[in-house]
Subunit: 290 residues, 2 copies
């Protein structure tokens, strides 16, 4: 496994890697969610590249950039075990040199949900992903369904800007109690960690209601919100029942939806989601789109 | 010479073209300026691709999008003569399909000069160029120094977003009387056409003043403005003496500058520029930058 830092080194090693090339961009502190993306890439591609970079431009001024957990030696050892070909570890000076001034902005699908709560977040995400794509030049790029809106935004960007990259969105990996894996779970106290399963529990309750006949979007939102509000340490940030592709909030009858939410436990903000209505939602995206 | 319209056709033919590949993006109605870019590409590259697309997003609502001159059969015949391998003729539905919503924005260098006079213009330029780069995947892309700020903005975008493309800026091609070649010259009446040489005449006067000792930026701007104002049909839009890379207006002593201007003749807006101070300005750009 090669490890590089500069873009010049990356391009040099990249040239030697055979296609199709799978790329997993990460912010490090890897967990089973990340490793599931790496395994998917490993099983579908001849070469696998992973980047580890905590991208400052996707953090708000009051967010957890400095506190974001980091453990590069452990990450490298995990990636070595997965048979990754190349790990890229750029730094801020490489990614945002002096006089940096270019941004990639996706409009509509960046606005609701996380975009509404975290101004500028998706501008940072789409900009760094565009840069990573241009550096790594992958055939496939892998993202987790855990960050559902991020996946939608990146697909929209990739399609709109005609990047020659296929976006693959992989299922959420969960702890035994249902909590979606996230590097931010490490912020939780023992007590908070126990209560954090309420996100998935409320999503599943709404999904079950939908499956047994409740098709009203507002009722589904209320089911989720009520369950979260009953959990004393949990502070609901938002619940949503939205169109999976446009992320527009649904009013009235639901056929197919992304149920999602953000919940605070103390200062820690967790997100989770499920898709209801169609089993083939991921594969249907491109056909639905065209 | 192959001619394609859709992105799928383009990618298919692109695969067969050997590297290095030179790309000349145009809005058509080709003149000697464009052809000089094509010839430069032809002499440096194994394959040459030209796109012809009048990009609506770089025109303001009151600008000349509908009136912009078009003559595809003539353009194709000219490109065939130059030994171009592939001509790409996309349309608006291909480039901006329904629900299109992604923009590439370059901040500082897009703001002054043309950017100040044409709000949104460079957002349209950088977005379409990013899209064209991702579709064509060239080794080199050729732009004319005539649109000096456009060249600076595109270089900045290419560098900031790490596009694996080298930007080549080629000298302005002029009519015998000094008028810079432009598709918009076709809008000029016979009388206006005769007076339009005042742009170059005033630039050359300022350049000569600089070469013979006038190093004050404001004095150079005044020399240019005075000459343009003496031409009765010409309406000065702006004159500038700016740093060639940052495009910041210079106050005080000039060592190296982009002298530029925009002038109206009736409804027709013409731009022109010269670089003063260093002969090696183009090659010095990257070293100056780092």
């Amino acid at each position: 496994m090669k490890i590089v830092r500069t873009i010049e080194e990356l391009r040099e090693v990249r040239k030697q890697l055979a296609s199709p090339l799978g790329f997993v961009p990460t912010m490090g502190y890897l967990h089973e969610g990340h490793l599931s993306l790496v395994r998917q890439a490993r099983s579908s591609c001849v070469s696998v590249v992973v980047s580890i970079y905590v991208n400052p431009t996707q953090f708000g001024p009051l967010e957890d950039l400095d506190a974001y957990p980091r453990d590069i030696p452990r990450d490298i050892s995990l990636l070595e075990n997965e048979g990754v070909d190349l790990v890229w570890l750029p730094d801020d000076k490489i990614m945002y040199p002096e006089r940096y001034q270019t941004w990639v902005i996706v409009e509509e699908v960046s606005r609701p949900l996380e975009g509404a709560m975290r101004p500028g977040h998706f501008r940072g995400v789409t900009t760094i992903v565009a840069k990573l794509f241009n550096c790594v030049q992958p055939t496939f790029a892998y993202f987790g369904q855990k960050d559902a809106q991020q996946a939608v935004v990146i697909r929209q960007m990739t399609q709109d800007l005609n990047f020659p990259v296929e976006i693959v969105v992989c299922p959420i990996i969960r702890e035994p109690d249902g909590l979606a894996m996230s590097s931010r779970n490490n912020y939780l106290s023992e007590k908070e960690r126990k209560r954090a399963k309420v996100l998935y529990r409320s999503l599943i309750a709404a999904q079950r209601a939908f499956d047994t006949g409740e098709k009203d979007a507002e009722k589904l939102r209320i089911i989720m919100a009520d369950i979260v509000r009953q959990e004393s340490v949990a502070q609901l940030h938002y619940v949503s029942c939205a169109a999976p592709m446009t992320l527009e909030e649904i009013n009235g009858e639901v056929n197919h939806a992304l149920l999602s939410m953000a919940v605070y436990f103390g200062k820690t903000r967790l997100i989770d989601n499920v898709i209801i209505g169609r089993v083939d939602d991921v594969s249907s995206w491109s056909s639905e789109k065209s």
